[in-house]
């Protein structure tokens, strides 16, 4: 649901032809800027916004990913200087092309006064979507002003003014005023809910308090809402800086680093998911596995048939958090179930429709360049007298060694005219975790005692 704020050049070209810039390709397309010749249309900037911007202007950069040998940009984002030696913080997704395909891409920084200088990646924090960069030749460029991080101990109050900086859509450096609204609920990793209008291209830019200290890093926004934007808390960036200050620039592609961080993530995710157990009372006849709403959201719906056929209720549980790894997202868990009542249909017709629903499952999330084709194991499983048809399918990642996607399908087979079908998906998990999670899911099916 949320979209990353990296803006693609193709979109920009399209926008310049059309004379108006549109948001990332998701519904509804919202025009994000007024025509340049109409300054009165923009909201008046308060005095403190002007002050904050003037202070931070020299620490702010645009980060361009440029095709080697061609000099055309493939994506643009923002970043900011955090040390006098020329260390910078931005989002991993801003530099992911340069990190994962270094043979084809390089990074160029553009300062607010228009100077360009190459940059290198020192360290990545894929799970929090952060990257630590350094100016390639700090001596040549002279010293840097650095932004400071607001310490965690200095808590913000909900509603406090804050200012997000960056270069939206490659239009020009901008300051966006908004409010701090605490942490996003049910997020697996903490994120700040910023009520302000972030746009593509602002990714990696800093969000500052009124004293000009960094509270968070612009990362994403919801396209189905207004002024619902997200920041990575500054503490992760300061920790990354502390860890990577003296690191050597990355050599080769970053896939092994991504894989190692995902492996650590899936250990934590698997443990937390299994430890939280299941919600009680999800079906009158069976216990059906539905996770509690800690770091997942479950949406349900109930649909009596309009054509005298199958009545069903469904529940979809998904995580907001998913880990962006360049060409795809992973590292998330989802569950789903549908409870069918076919008493209007009779036994045979119910079986036909129940079967059709069991058939209607896809496993083609990622293309063959990223994953192997699925391999499945299936059988009738006895859960203390309740008979299930169970299918476990796994796919291996090609660039992330020893990580897999696992999908589990379950259909109850004890009633001739009713039943529950469930699906469990875990992405980017180790094989041991995949098996642990699959077993955890299947064994949750039982009769209600």
């Amino acid at each position: 649901m949320s979209t990353y704020l990296r803006h693609l050049a193709a979109l920009l070209m399209l926008a310049s032809v059309a004379g108006g810039v549109h948001a990332a390709p998701s519904p509804p397309p919202v025009p994000l800027v007024a025509p340049a010749a109409d300054p009165a249309a923009s909201a008046p900037v308060s005095l403190s916004a002007r002050k904050v911007y003037e202070q931070a202007r020299s620490q702010l950069v645009q980060i361009r990913t440029v095709l080697k040998g061609q000099a055309s940009q493939t994506s643009v984002g923002s970043g900011f200087v955090v040390s006098k030696d020329g260390h910078l913080i931005t989002n991993f997704h801003v530099v992911s092309e340069a990190a994962l395909k270094p043979e084809r891409h390089e990074l160029v920084l553009v300062t607010a006064d228009g100077r360009e200088t190459p940059a290198q990646i020192l360290m990545l924090d894929v799970l929090h979507d952060l990257a630590l960069l350094k100016v390639a030749d700090p001596k040549k460029t002279g010293g840097f002003d650095a932004l400071t991080f607001r310490p965690d101990t200095d808590k913000l109050a909900q509603g406090e003014r804050m200012y997000s900086l960056g270069n939206p859509l490659d239009v020009g450096f901008a300051v966006i005023e908004g409010n701090y609204n605490g942490l996003v609920e049910r997020s697996f990793y903490p994120q700040i809910f910023f009520a302000g209008s972030l746009s593509g291209g602002m990714s990696g830019g800093p969000a500052l308090d009124q004293a000009g200290r960094v509270i968070g890093i612009n990362v994403a926004r919801r396209v189905d809402g207004e002024q619902v934007s997200f920041l990575v808390p500054a503490s992760f960036a300061s920790a990354l800086l502390a860890r990577g200050r003296d690191a050597a620039p990355l050599k080769g592609d970053a896939w092994p680093i991504v894989a190692a961080q995902l492996t650590a993530h899936q250990d934590v995710l698997t443990e937390r998911f299994i430890a939280q157990g299941w919600k009680p009372g999800t079906h009158p006849r069976y216990s059906v596995p539905v996770p509690p709403d800690r770091f997942m959201r479950c949406w349900g719906s109930s649909e009596p048939s309009r054509t005298g056929g199958l009545d069903f209720e469904r529940s979809d549980c998904v995580m907001d958090t998913r880990i962006f790894v360049g060409e795809f997202n992973t590292g998330t868990i989802a569950t789903r179930h549908e409870a069918y009542d076919g008493s209007n249909l009779g036994t045979l017709r119910f079986a036909a429709q129940y079967s059709a629903s069991f058939r209607n499952e896809g496993f083609g999330r990622l293309g063959p360049q990223h994953q192997t084709k699925p391999q499945c194991h299936e059988n009738f499983v006895d859960r203390k007298g309740l008979v299930l048809r169970a299918v476990v399918c796994v796919r291996a990642y090609k660039k992330l060694p020893k990580l897999y996607d696992v999908a589990v399908l379950v259909a109850t087979l004890d009633q001739p005219q009713a039943g529950v079908q469930g699906r469990f998906d875990a992405q980017g998990v180790s094989y041991a975790s995949a098996m642990k999670l699959a077993q955890h899911y299947i064994e949750a099916y039982a009769w209600v005692k």
């Binding site: 079967s355 699925p374 391999q375 194991h377 059988n379 009738f380 499983v381």
Partner: protein
């Protein structure tokens, strides 16, 4: 006027007689020149292409004239100037001659006539209108039952109506095209035959699909539906063979070869496609035919045993991931 010694027939490409010539005396001469007994209008034949006469011993013999292309006698190639005796005994069959592009048949008076054939014995699949009606009814019931099975109660009449329209359109279209082919090549329609072949194929197909699905579910044998496209191709091949029987009845072996070849080609392409698309030879990733619980025969396994099987998938996916890495 002497009695007829032989009958020389000019055949068209479907084997139907175009022209026939009674031979009252030997020699018989055939070619493009005007002084032949049979004058051909075929640019690939010589002015004097062949001559049939009695040789010194009184035996009937064929001599090839001064021809570039020579000729074929009962499938044997003869060059210019060759002379061969002709089989003229009572049990010998009429001679088939190909000169250039002209097909000739020579029936000799000394050869015995083949007995009369009974009408309608040529193609018995289940002859007659009553069986045709029974088959049509059976197919309609099977397909109608499927439509009922898959429809929502309130939409049943609509589903049945659209099923009836499409079934009639497709059925008559299919049988009609084959009928047209029969008419072109055999000058007979054989509509009833084609309809029967089609209906039997539909019934066999439905029986195969329902039977394999039920077995796969009851005994938890996923491979049955995974590979039920193999017998499905056999049904298609048989259907093609029997349709072709009524289009090209003269060459049953060739027809059989073509039908078997088509089925095998289709099967090979399907397997290839499956491997390309899913890395597996079968067509179903997992068994997805659920029947009422009472029809389950296989015993459910304990979860730990089930998970053991799932754990064994790892070597398979790891091998696939490695293999494609090597290809990159």
């Amino acid at each position: 006027m002497s009695s007829t010694l032989a009958l020389l027939e000019v055949l068209d490409r479907d084997g139907v007689v175009r022209q026939s010539l009674k031979v009252g005396a030997w020699p018989l001469r055939v070619g493009r020149a005007f002084d032949n007994d049979l004058v051909l209008d075929d640019p690939y034949t010589a002015p004097e292409h062949l001559r049939i006469a009695r040789d010194d011993t009184g035996q009937l013999a064929l001599t090839v004239g001064d021809s570039v292309n020579g000729l074929h006698l009962n499938g044997r190639t003869l060059a210019a100037g060759e002379q061969v005796p002709l089989p003229a005994g009572p049990h010998d069959k009429p001679l088939l001659l190909v000169l250039g592009r002209t097909h000739l048949r020579l029936r000799l008076a000394t050869q015995r006539l083949a007995p009369e054939q009974r009408l309608g014995t040529a193609r018995v699949l289940t002859q007659g209108l009553p069986t045709l009606l029974v088959l049509a009814l059976a197919a309609a019931l099977v397909l109608g039952f499927n439509t009922w099975l898959e429809s929502e109660p309130d939409l049943l009449t609509k589903s049945l109506a659209s099923f009836a329209i499409s079934a009639l359109a497709i059925g008559f279209g299919w049988a009609g095209v084959w009928t047209l082919l029969s008419k072109v090549f055999t000058h007979q329609a054989h509509f009833g035959w084609h309809l029967r072949v089609m209906l039997l194929a539909v019934i066999a197909w439905e029986a195969l699909m329902a039977g394999t699905s039920l077995l796969a579910f009851a005994f938890s044998w996923p491979w049955i539906t995974d590979f039920n496209f193999v017998p499905a191709y056999a049904i298609l091949g048989a259907m093609l063979y029997f349709h072709l029987q009524a289009v090209e009845p003269l060459h049953p072996r060739r027809t059989l070869g073509f039908a078997v070849g088509s089925a095998l080609t289709g099967l090979a392409l399907s397997l290839w496609f499956n491997v390309q698309a899913t890395d597996r030879a079968g067509s179903e990733l997992y068994m997805n035919h659920l029947f009422p619980p009472a029809l389950r025969v296989a015993k459910p396994v304990e979860l730990t045993d089930f998970m053991q099987g799932a754990a064994e998938l790892q070597t398979r996916v790891d091998a696939k991931a490695k293999k494609t890495d090597a290809e990159d």
